[in-house]
């Protein structure tokens, strides 16, 4: 594989940038693989990469119905954080933060990792108390957390609405300084390029339509490009999990819902951090191109539409203007949506299943981008070793049987209400 470096860039500039290798090939499926990953989103690509890199498997395929980066991995608002209270979440996502820090070097691809800090605003004394508790829990798990008062926030983010007569005055907030953003496309492409270089077949435009299971054991898959044999399957299809679960006769604690996001026209740098509104659901960061990147609530009813509805957008942006009044002067550049695998306790599932050779990776809700590296890392371990890693042991499917839910937000089963 060609290395990406400034020297290679200059060298190639002399012959008009001809002679760059393709980043990943476009192979036809082989008859059989040791492991097939279904879904070429961030999680599927990362899983294949770590299977090859950490577990020395070299006969792996990723089967993707569309194209690499066409799913949620290319639709999210790129926020990275590990500001969770529960141990299962905190320790898992913090391992993810470690992987983010070295990702560009590891993948030899600039993923534009930007630890600019994430600030959750608080608008009442009660909320400050809750954030104090969460911050302390985070620090006990070795995660950076700083509680900020109103004046400190004013210094960091002066464009917020600090006037006295607002409905939700800013009392303070909780900041995770190492939180931030990364470029989502680059993450997908970086993992794809490295996985390909290690011999993983990335098979695009190939939809999985069925499974071959004999005596409770995986034997292969049926696809739009024919049948492929395998003994191990990793399911990484995010918002499409319930559709594949139906083919497997499984009824999962998931519902598919739609989340929208939008960006404004680009403006000069004005917002240095990721900031979230605490009296509703709105968050905002500024991209390197200068666009304000914004998102918030789910549309609120089951949807596979991959495009959203205006009432939710209006509601979300009303909160945005309450937080950052200057937003009202900007033009909207684009809005879009993606379909989310909402789990019944808001936490993911990374586990084996009752079918031998079938491994499940789902339930990412609206926060799976930040999990991309650690999800792939733990899922690869689970598939290769046929047992969960201690970091994903809590994310088992059986917790819905035993009652060991990981309900970070205390929302109960209607996580889509948010």
């Amino acid at each position: 594989m060609q290395k990406y470096s400034v020297f290679n860039l200059i060298k190639k500039a002399f012959n008009g940038h001809k002679g760059w290798e393709v980043a990943w090939k476009d192979p036809a499926p082989k008859a059989e693989y040791d492991v097939i990953i279904i879904g070429g989103g961030g999680h599927g690509l990362a899983t294949a990469y770590y299977l090859a890199k950490e577990h020395n498997l070299n006969n792996i395929a990723i089967v993707e119905k569309g194209w690499i980066g066409g799913g949620n991995v290319g639709r999210n608002t790129t926020i990275l954080r590990s500001n969770y209270m529960h141990d299962e979440n905190g320790l898992f996502y913090e391992k993810g933060m470690d992987l983010w820090r070295s990702m560009s070097q590891d993948l030899n691809f600039n993923v534009m990792y930007s630890p600019r800090g994430i600030i959750n605003l608080a608008h009442s004394d009660a909320q400050m108390n809750a954030y104090t508790r969460r911050g302390n829990s985070m620090r006990l798990n070795g995660i950076d957390a700083v509680l900020l008062g109103r004046e400190e926030i004013k210094k960091l983010v002066p464009v917020l609405d600090f006037s006295e007569n607002v409905r939700f005055p800013i009392f303070g907030g909780l900041m995770q300084p190492s939180g931030g953003t990364a470029r989502h496309d680059a993450v997908a492409w970086g993992y794809a390029r490295q996985a390909d270089a290690m011999g993983v077949d990335i098979i695009q435009h190939c939809e999985v339509t069925g499974f071959d299971i004999v005596n409770g054991k995986i034997k292969g898959i049926q696809t739009s490009k024919g049948n492929i044999k395998t003994k191990k399957i990793g399911l990484c299809v995010a918002g499409s999990t319930s559709i594949l679960a139906e083919m497997l006769n499984m009824n999962l604690p998931l519902e598919t819902h739609l989340l929208q996001a939008c960006v404004s026209e680009p403006i000069k740098p004005i917002l240095d951090h990721v900031v979230t509104f605490g009296a509703g659901h709105f968050y905002c960061s500024q991209s390197d191109k200068g666009e304000m990147v914004m998102g918030g609530d789910l549309d609120g009813y089951n949807s596979y539409a991959q495009r959203g509805n205006l009432p939710t957008l209006q509601h979300v942006l009303t909160e945005g203007i309450a937080m950052l009044p200057f937003l009202s002067k900007l033009k909207m550049l684009r809005t879009w949506g993606g379909i989310m695998d909402m789990s019944m306790d808001g936490s993911p599932i990374i586990d084996k299943t009752h079918i031998e050779g079938l491994y499940l990776n789902c339930g990412w809700c609206y926060g799976g981008f930040k999990a991309t590296p650690v999800s792939g890392w733990t899922f690869a371990h689970t598939i290769a070793q046929d047992r969960v890693h201690k970091l994903n042991a809590g994310f088992n499917l059986n917790r819905f049987n035993t009652g060991h839910l990981i309900d970070e937000k205390g929302l109960g089963t209607k996580t889509w209400i948010s």
Binding site: S242, N251, T256, P311, F400
Partner: protein
């Protein structure tokens, strides 16, 4: 914007309703021995189909009644609405 025909009030905008999820889920009968699996299916497990979905909505800014709606989860086309006690096939 969805337009939902409340069986009691007529056609109204989505803004007047709040969503109640899968309308085919039946609560296990009271005072009967119920397996953990049955409880799971009632509380957590959902089919979440791509296509026709029977779901509950409450006409919260109208008559405040719960209603059943059959809607396509891809196109959002609404095929049928009914009083909550009625069955939608």
């Amino acid at each position: 914007m969805l337009h939902i025909k409340c069986p009691h009030c007529g056609l109204r905008s989505q803004n007047e309703f709040s969503y109640g999820g899968d309308g085919t889920i039946k609560r296990p009968e009271l005072n009967k021995e119920i397996s953990d699996q049955d409880w799971n299916n009632f509380v957590y497990n959902r089919k979440s189909p791509r296509g026709k979905h029977v779901e509950l909505w409450q006409h919260i800014s109208g008559c405040r009644q719960w209603i059943k709606v059959q809607r396509d989860t891809v196109t959002h086309e609404i095929f049928q609405t009914a009083d909550v006690k009625q069955d939608i096939k």
